[in-house]
């Protein structure tokens, strides 16, 4: 199947192109809006959580005397957005392309993967903003390079889940609502708006839930390499990559097994 995906990369590109071209075609400021939304969220959350709830970010890696809640928050948000946007987009692709799938023969994973490609561009823009923030904070380090495999693992993990959920959503239309609600809850069970140490100090049972959440692993690794400028334990990044590739493999298997029947469900 991987060979087939590579062979039809032009098709994935064509879907990516379509999504890219149509996404902001009718709006004047185009990509600007796609960045405005996360930045606005960042601003509101940063204000509420640091000023109202008085949550303290951990010390910056470059200067332990300083902290930056906004940078800490945005590191987590970027990682989370990569995960949730690929997951959500992938999940709904089969349904939103149902007319096409029912009438024209072509591999059904093409629009799913194509949508993710476009989403990667969006996330890349967010990462540029994040880098800008850290440069402005003079919090720069070689550990940044480790962000590449972590983000890759995050994307693969999300894509694997997205492939599975897209099939489930084609079969049962309410899957997307269940997932939306679940993701909403999961967001707060991931140390994005607060440092992990804060839950560990307050409630043990909650800390266990948060630590069992796979997104905590990805977000914490990103906090380490981007914010604290430290390398996570040597096994952590390989483990995340295995998790990412494994989930993707599982997603592809599910898709291949069920993929031939899903056009009848749509």
């Amino acid at each position: 199947m991987l060979a087939e995906i590579y062979r039809r990369r032009a098709l994935i590109g064509a879907f990516a192109n379509r999504d890219f071209a149509t996404r902001y075609r009718s709006s004047f400021l185009g990509w600007f809006w796609s960045l405005l939304q996360p930045l606005a969220t960042l601003l509101v959350y940063a204000a509420v959580f640091s000023l109202v709830f008085r949550i303290q970010a951990p010390p910056l890696g470059a200067d332990p005397e300083r902290t930056s809640f906004a940078a800490f928050l945005f590191t987590g948000m970027v990682t989370w957005n990569l995960f949730s946007s690929i997951l959500m987009l992938s999940m709904t692709q089969l349904r939103s392309n149902s007319e096409l799938l029912k009438k024209v023969p072509f591999p059904a994973w093409a629009p799913v993967l194509g949508a993710s490609v476009v989403q990667l561009i969006q996330v890349a823009l967010e990462i540029l903003v994040l880098i800008g923030m850290f440069v402005w904070q003079r919090n720069i380090g070689v550990s940044w390079l480790l962000a590449i495999p972590i983000l890759l693992a995050t994307a693969l993990f999300a894509q694997g889940l997205g492939l599975m959920l897209s099939v489930a959503n084609a079969r049962y239309g309410d899957v997307q609502y269940i997932v939306t609600v679940t993701l909403g809850a999961l967001y707060f069970l991931t140390p994005i708006l607060y440092p992990l140490s804060l839950v560990e100090d307050t409630a043990d049972w909650l800390a266990i839930i948060v630590q069992l959440n796979p997104m905590t692993w990805f977000v914490e690794a990103m906090h380490d390499v981007m914010y604290s400028l430290t390398a996570p334990p040597w096994w952590e990044i390989p483990a995340l990559l295995i998790l990412g590739f494994g989930t993707l493999w599982l997603g592809l298997v599910v898709f291949e097994r069920k993929g031939e029947d899903l056009r009848e469900w749509l």
């Binding site: 007319e99 096409l100 024209v104 023969p105 049962y172």
Partner: protein, 411 residues
């Protein structure tokens, strides 16, 4: 690679659908109501085998719901067979729904690119075909506009141009010849003929038996998902038509006769009492065939001596259009004095009506043609059929001559 003799080889193919009413549409339903019962399955196709030789044109005919479109979707690979195997060779282009792959926000040109990629062409191949597609569609001025601004005709034109110009080895055509204007239909038809000449394999689904007969080498006739007959186009079409006619007769036994039994009495001086259609031998018929003479027999009854009535028959097509009126006065025929029961016989020489359903209205006027003495609307309904099955080509088969000469028109 071994070149197989058949472009499409379907062996013992069956397709089962789970009925929509029964399928669990949401996870909630699935949990609450449990697993769907399997007994609600519906077999769209049963043990269908068909072999389409490379370079031939194959037609699929049958009633609505006979499984023709399902068969096409199985050939394209949109569905997979529940049982049996289908092997195809070469790139498949489908004219199942023209422009199905178009995105409304994108321009015609961008949509050509997307569709090319969907059909499995490389960028280069698509670029090479783009100009040809634009020429064929005739949309030069609009090709960079978003297709959402296209009229439905433009949409179909572009869809057809894309589908046939992206060089499929196998082209599947589902009823598309029924859309578009006359000129475009002709263009499509010509193009299919050209593709056929170029050795492409074509599978056509159509209700237009005339088209099927003239275009196809071989025809498969499906009924309730099962193969009725496969064979030479002309013989299968003829058998299919015979079955359709027989079924319709069974459903509407002696439409003409039913109306004739009324023994009508309008209470006026002259009454049209009965109306029926008979053939040349005077036998009541359930339908009239184009090109053979039939007779309308109208029974009239007058309560007193009545001079020269004009019995006028109005033939109306069931779409509402009046085809013609047949009156003896207009044809210079005078029935003279009548008294009591008479039968007026109006012969329709070589019935020049095309297939369809027609309604006969009867009006009786006095000898001056000014006073309407009886009017019987919907006196009878009759069906016209044709051994050639040309449906929807109008109402009348006008006598015409055809010739072709050298040089430009002399006028």
């Amino acid at each position: 690679m071994i070149r197989r003799e058949f472009a499409i080889d379907a062996t013992d193919v069956s397709k089962r659908f789970i009925r929509h009413s029964d399928r669990r549409q949401s996870l909630k339903e699935r949990v609450v109501r449990g697993r769907a019962r399997r007994s609600e399955d519906f077999w769209a196709l049963r043990h269908v085998s068909m072999k389409v030789p490379r370079g031939s044109v194959y037609g699929l005919i049958g009633h609505n719901g006979s499984g023709k479109s399902t068969m096409l979707k199985l050939i394209t690979g949109i569905y997979r067979p529940t049982e049996g195997t289908i092997t195809t060779e070469g790139r498949i282009g489908a004219l199942i729904e023209l422009g199905a792959g178009f995105h409304p926000e994108m321009s015609g040109r961008e949509n050509i690119r997307l569709n090319g990629a969907i059909l499995g062409l490389t960028k280069k191949e698509v670029e090479a075909a783009t100009d040809q597609i634009i020429d064929f569609s005739g949309l030069h001025d609009f090709i960079d506009d978003p297709v959402k601004h296209y009229s439905s005709g433009m949409y179909v034109r572009l869809g057809f141009a894309v589908a046939v110009n992206l060089q499929p080895d196998i082209l599947l055509v589902d009823e598309v010849l029924a859309v578009g204007d006359e000129e475009f239909q002709r263009k499509c038809f010509d193009h299919l003929a050209a593709l056929r000449k170029a050795g492409r394999t074509i599978v056509v689904v159509s209700h237009s038996l005339g088209q099927i007969e003239s275009l196809c080498d071989e025809v498969g006739w499906l009924e309730h998902g099962e193969v009725q007959e496969i064979g030479r186009a002309s013989s299968v079409v003829a058998n299919y038509l015979a079955r359709v006619n027989a079924e319709e007769s069974a459903r509407n036994p002696r439409i003409a006769a039913v109306r004739a039994d009324g023994g009508r009495d309008s209470g006026s001086v002259v009454t049209a009492t009965r109306a029926e259609v008979v053939d040349g031998h005077g036998q009541l018929v359930d339908h009239v065939e184009t090109g053979t003479t039939c007779y309308f027999k109208v029974g009239i009854s007058s309560s007193e001596r009545f001079l020269g009535p004009n019995v006028r028959l109005a033939i109306q097509h069931d779409s509402g259009a009046l085809v013609t009126m047949l009156g003896n006065h207009r044809h210079g025929v005078d029935y003279g004095w009548i008294d009591g029961d008479r039968t007026v016989s109006v012969g329709l020489v070589d019935t020049p009506l095309l297939p369809g359903r027609y309604i006969l209205h009867i009006d009786i006027f006095d000898h001056l043609g000014t006073r309407l003495v009886d009017s019987w609307t919907d006196a009878l309904e009759f069906v016209v059929r044709s051994p050639r099955g040309e449906i929807g080509q109008g109402f009348v088969d006008l006598p015409a001559t055809f010739s072709i000469d050298h040089g430009p028109s002399t006028n």
